[in-house]
């Protein structure tokens, strides 16, 4: 077992890659009362065009299939649904699907061996029937309808559809009702066979446990199972143009307040800096431009353009970074004008840079306070950047002002899409 230590924050991450390819990350906190264990695959809603096992050609599967598969893996042959089984034992179980990851997790306080085995087993024993696939369509349709009643979901769905031209990152995670109605048990099996191989999966455990004991449980479980040889995953290559799909769109919804969202689609390949490091620099830029400490935020509040804050988010998709900026406003055009102006002339002083670095350090260390959040951070750091979470601390410490200035000088901020969501009555 490899140990990745950081003495400054007094934390150690244990890592091992098993014989079948499964990677295991363990981070313990003896002061916790429980354990969170996640079993994840590097497969999400954007991976739905690929060459299925034993086939030669690409197949396009319906949008939303990864999320559908997540629901269906809880089904067991000759046994009760895994959700029910864990719940009966008092173990918290759940799962989620994102654009690039699907994860199943437990939070438990006792019977570690039995529960860890049950988690690995239910995910690794798919059971799909025509009947149970049909049944799930009703449940997922209601889930989609529920999300449709959140105005921000509609705003973001449109925003990403308009950002990307071809890349499946543009599609919503759950798909639309018409997509999921097409899904068959054969589709699920094709997706499962390619993406749920141990070579494409990893386990993350956080909380109070003995690292040797838990690794042994996972190893023993995997050693008992036979897996087909792993064939590399052949995803359809997607040529994504630099330009956004659509510059601007105004949509209507059941909202009380107008909302505006902007995506900047920024080419980053020429920067020659790894995305995990870029993310910190980009965060500094965006926080400094728009959060409550910024001049523009203060000015826009005074002018009644803003009443609440500006939300920011950063994604990395192949050669691009996407910066999302979202706010509620009665004056969307004025807000847009101000945002565009700030983006054209990005400025960060050295003092601001040092202060934001303190914020990043504080946030990083604070993650270790919460086994749920920490577990998820380790998952996403692995899925997004293929590195371990603890190494990020050294990156933050080494961030430097001169490098930031060089990056800013090289950014092309001309490519953006804007979506405005207005009330149906306006």
């Amino acid at each position: 077992m490899k140990q990745i230590k950081n003495d400054k924050i007094n934390e150690t991450l244990y890592y091992e890659k098993l014989k079948n390819g499964l990677e295991v990350y363990l981070l313990k906190n003896p002061e916790e009362t429980s354990i969170k264990i996640s079993f994840a695959t590097k497969y999400g809603s954007m991976h739905n065009s690929f060459v299925p096992k034993n086939k030669k050609n690409y197949v396009d599967y319906p949008n939303g299939i990864a999320h559908f598969l997540e629901h269906k893996l809880f089904e067991m042959e000759d046994k009760e649904n895994a959700l029910t089984q864990f719940q009966k034992k008092g173990v918290y179980v759940n799962a989620f699907t994102s654009k690039n990851i699907t994860a199943y997790y437990l939070v438990l306080t006792e019977n570690i061996e039995e529960n860890v085995n049950d988690l690995l087993d239910f995910v690794q024993s798919p059971y799909f029937t025509d009947e149970n696939v049909e049944k799930e369509k009703g449940i997922i349709s209601e889930e989609i309808k529920m999300w449709d009643d959140f105005p921000e979901e509609k705003l973001f769905d449109t925003l990403f559809l308009n950002t990307f031209v071809n890349h499946p990152y543009r599609n919503s995670i759950a798909g639309r009702i018409k997509d999921i109605k097409k899904i068959t048990k054969e589709d699920l099996r094709d997706n499962y066979d390619v993406f749920y191989h141990p070579q494409n999966m990893f386990v993350v455990v956080t909380g109070n446990f003995d690292e040797k004991e838990i690794l042994k449980i996972i190893k023993d479980n995997q050693n008992k199972k036979i897996f087909d040889p792993f064939n590399s995953i052949i995803l359809k290559h997607i040529e994504e143009p630099s330009k956004v799909y659509k510059d601007k769109e105004i949509i209507k919804g059941n909202v009380e307040k107008t909302k505006i969202a902007i995506n900047y689609k920024i080419l980053i390949s020429h920067l020659k800096i790894k995305p995990e490091k870029l993310e910190f620099y980009f965060n500094i830029i965006l926080m400094n431009l728009f959060d409550k400490t910024s001049e523009i935020n203060e000015k826009l509040k005074k002018l009644s353009v803003l009443t609440d804050g500006i939300k920011i988010d950063i994604d990395f998709v192949d050669n691009f970074s996407v910066w999302t900026i979202m706010a509620e406003t009665e004056k969307p055009e004025e807000l847009l004008k101000n945002i565009v102006k700030s983006m054209k002339n990005i400025k960060v002083t050295e003092e601001e840079f040092e202060r934001k670095k303190k914020v990043l350090i504080s946030e990083f260390i604070s993650h270790f306070n919460n086994l749920n959040g920490l577990n998820q951070k380790i998952l996403f750091t692995k899925a997004n950047f293929n590195i371990d979470f603890i190494s990020l601390f050294n990156l933050i410490e080494k961030l430097n002002y001169q490098e930031l200035l060089k990056i800013i000088a090289k950014l092309d901020m001309s490519n953006k899409t804007v979506v405005i969501l207005e009330s149906k009555n306006s």
């Binding site: 924050i9 008092g90 918290y92 059941n254 009380e256 400490t293 935020n297 009443t307 914020v359 504080s362």
Partner: protein, 418 residues
């Protein structure tokens, strides 16, 4: 876990040890009996206090200060438990060993500035007022919130369980002077407790708090802190409301009659767990898994309000079927049609949740608050009592839930056509 209670000037200090934590928490809680006429000014003051001070006269300068202190999280909220309203101001901050020497002192000084050196002025008053108006619009936008509050108001709009966070009518007549007066009232008439959770020396930390904080208030004892209902409907009330929603929301409210303390603390939570607590509950299994009618179908028990709610997001055309299923589940439970396995599973889930949360800072504070105002027991004692609950006790308690109101927020059909 180590715990110590110390008397300060006008408040009690509760020190709770949380070893190896990276962030420490200090919360000041001003408790009083809830009053309808104070709702909005209480909420207003709570937001105002953390917005600006005399030394940090703009929101921007105040935010910059929080970042200089290694990103102190400053927050405020109003909580309600039964008849008690808690006005909370709190900070969480990184353990000093990860920052710089002297950071704790600076952080406590900052909290002191927030509590005692508020900058009340007309300009900021307008800013906060506008922000609250926007928050009211947010509530209108959230259909789930709207359905929940409408159900409660339909049940009994004069009872504290149905009070909103804030009322536009009260907001419109509020003045800056009202807020200043109310500030004086809060610091001089509340029951005040300071909770500190973290990895620190009790002696050194308590000295810092006792030196910096004092209030003109005296600790208070409250009576009748639980909501007790006197009116029960013989025929349930039905409210159907059309709205612009893709998914219809069914909410059912029950009032609980004559529960004894044991039932309230230990039996009803188990009943609720069996009914709609999680993915092995009757509601989840019947409404979602067997009939594929919903994505969520669950129940919520509010012990100190003596109420229980059921929620489900469904398609409009499934209203009758869902209602019928729920009614059958309630009747079955009253007739004892559930197994020992159901009970064990419910108990396991509750115990597991307690064990999962027992070292969480917010949980540690909330348990102390419940002990103080509701004589709640230590977690180990609660678990011991839960284990003792029998099937007969659950059946008896299930007969004390009285259907009050069925609320249905329905829309047109989904925007999608198949």
């Amino acid at each position: 876990m180590d715990y110590q209670k110390i008397s300060g000037q006008g408040f009690n200090l509760h020190l709770i040890e949380k070893k190896l934590t990276k962030r420490n928490i200090v919360e000041i809680r001003f408790a009083d009996k809830i009053k309808y006429e104070d709702i909005t000014k209480r909420y207003f003051l709570n937001e105002y206090l953390i917005s600006i001070t005399n030394n940090y006269p703009t929101e921007r300068l105040l935010s910059i200060k929080t970042e200089d202190l290694y990103n102190v999280h400053l927050g405020s909220t109003i909580e309600r438990i039964g008849n008690i309203s808690l006005f909370v101001i709190g900070i969480s901050f990184l353990n000093e060993k990860y920052t710089e020497k002297g950071m704790i002192d600076q952080t406590i000084k900052f909290l002191k500035e927030i509590v005692y050196n508020c900058n009340f002025n007309e300009e900021q008053f307008k800013v906060i007022k506008k922000r609250i108006i926007e928050e009211i619009k947010d509530e209108e936008e959230s259909k789930k919130y709207k359905a929940t509050i409408s159900l409660k108001e339909a049940m009994d709009k004069n009872s504290p369980f149905a009070f909103r966070r804030v009322y536009l009518k009260q907001l419109n007549s509020l003045t800056l002077q009202d807020i200043k007066d109310y500030y004086q009232q809060v610091i001089s008439e509340s029951d005040i407790n300071i909770y500190a959770v973290g990895d620190f020396s009790f002696t050194a930390f308590s000295k810092k708090i006792l030196k910096n904080f004092s209030f003109p208030s005296k600790p208070k004892l409250f009576k009748n802190n639980c909501l007790i209902h006197n009116k029960f409907r013989l025929l349930s009330k039905k409210v159907m409301k059309k709205d612009k929603v893709n998914q219809s929301i069914l909410k059912i409210g029950f009032k609980l009659k004559d529960l004894n303390l044991f039932e309230q603390e230990y039996v009803m939570p188990i009943y609720n767990e069996i009914l709609g607590g999680g993915s092995n509950s009757k509601l989840f299994n019947e409404v979602r898994e067997k009939h594929s009618l919903a994505y969520y179908s669950s129940s919520l028990y509010s012990p100190y309000d003596n109420v229980l709610y059921i929620s489900s997001g469904i398609s409009k055309e499934n209203y009758r079927l869902t209602k019928k299923l729920i009614s059958k589940i309630i009747n079955d439970l009253q007739q004892g049609k559930f197994t020992e396995e159901d009970i064990t599973s419910a108990k396991n889930n509750m115990i597991n949740r307690f064990n999962m949360n027992r070292k969480e800072s917010s949980f540690l504070i909330s348990r102390q608050v419940l002990k103080q105002y509701y004589k709640a027991k230590d977690i180990d004692e609660v678990i011991k009592q839960i284990k003792k609950v029998t099937k007969k006790q659950i059946i008896d308690a299930s007969k004390k839930i009285k259907l009050d109101t069925i609320y249905f927020l329905y829309g047109g059909e989904s925007n999608e056509t198949d």
